[in-house]
Symmetry: C2
Subunit: 115 residues, 2 copies
Amino acid sequence: MSTDPLSLTFAALADPTRRAILARLSQGESSVKELAEPFAMSLPAVSKHLKVLERAGLITRGKEAQWRPCRLDPGPLQDVSQWLEHYSRFWDQSLGRLDEMLRAIKARPPDKSGV
Amino acid sequence: MSTDPLSLTFAALADPTRRAILARLSQGESSVKELAEPFAMSLPAVSKHLKVLERAGLITRGKEAQWRPCRLDPGPLQDVSQWLEHYSRFWDQSLGRLDEMLRAIKARPPDKSGV
DNA sequence: CAGTTAATTAACTGATCGGTTTACTAATCG
DNA sequence: CGATTAGTAAACCGATCAGTTAATTAACTG
């Protein structure tokens, strides 16, 4: 697997269980056991999912007695959003015309940023 | 791997080569051979990447003599954008304060303080 | 027709993924 | 102290991934 930040983020998001965990955490902090409850899988499995999310920077974990409260970190999601903006002209009505113009002007230098 | 549309899309995006291919296609249609040129990998490898992108609906392919021109389909990217919107309140400046308030209210029920 | 070009298919490989069970650490409770 | 609770680590498994090389299909070219 690729280890650049964007790839780690997309890979972490490419699993419904992990997206459900993020949705849960968007409501507020939660312990591992609480997060695991809705799923028909073992606790270690959830623990692994959390590790994937953590490696992508999508969650951070605290320490509180014997609990490891997880909370959402939106940073990587914002990075995804920025990456997406690069393509928004393809579906954004108001920018469609501008895009046509820009593309017609081929004098643009090759843009490799944000690949 | 999960086979729901969003998972297929995120998985397809979790690879720098495939993102580079999309970036290239955002400039216009291209043949497989042209797409493969910038990469230090075999043509079949690129062909496989294209199949992943196609399965996610991110590209469509035509037929023109012995070429299979690929072009970008922004649909799945728009779906990702919508999914992201659900989280945009976490980094959107203007909504940040409101979110803080909502979270402060909602984070009450599972009360572990003083346990 | 034979030869070239474009692309895919097939078979194989090593690495990673998503899950399991078992065993372990660490903190709290009685 | 021992027992319980929360979570992680280790070892294992089958499936998938990302790449390879070799063979094949399909269309154009001379």
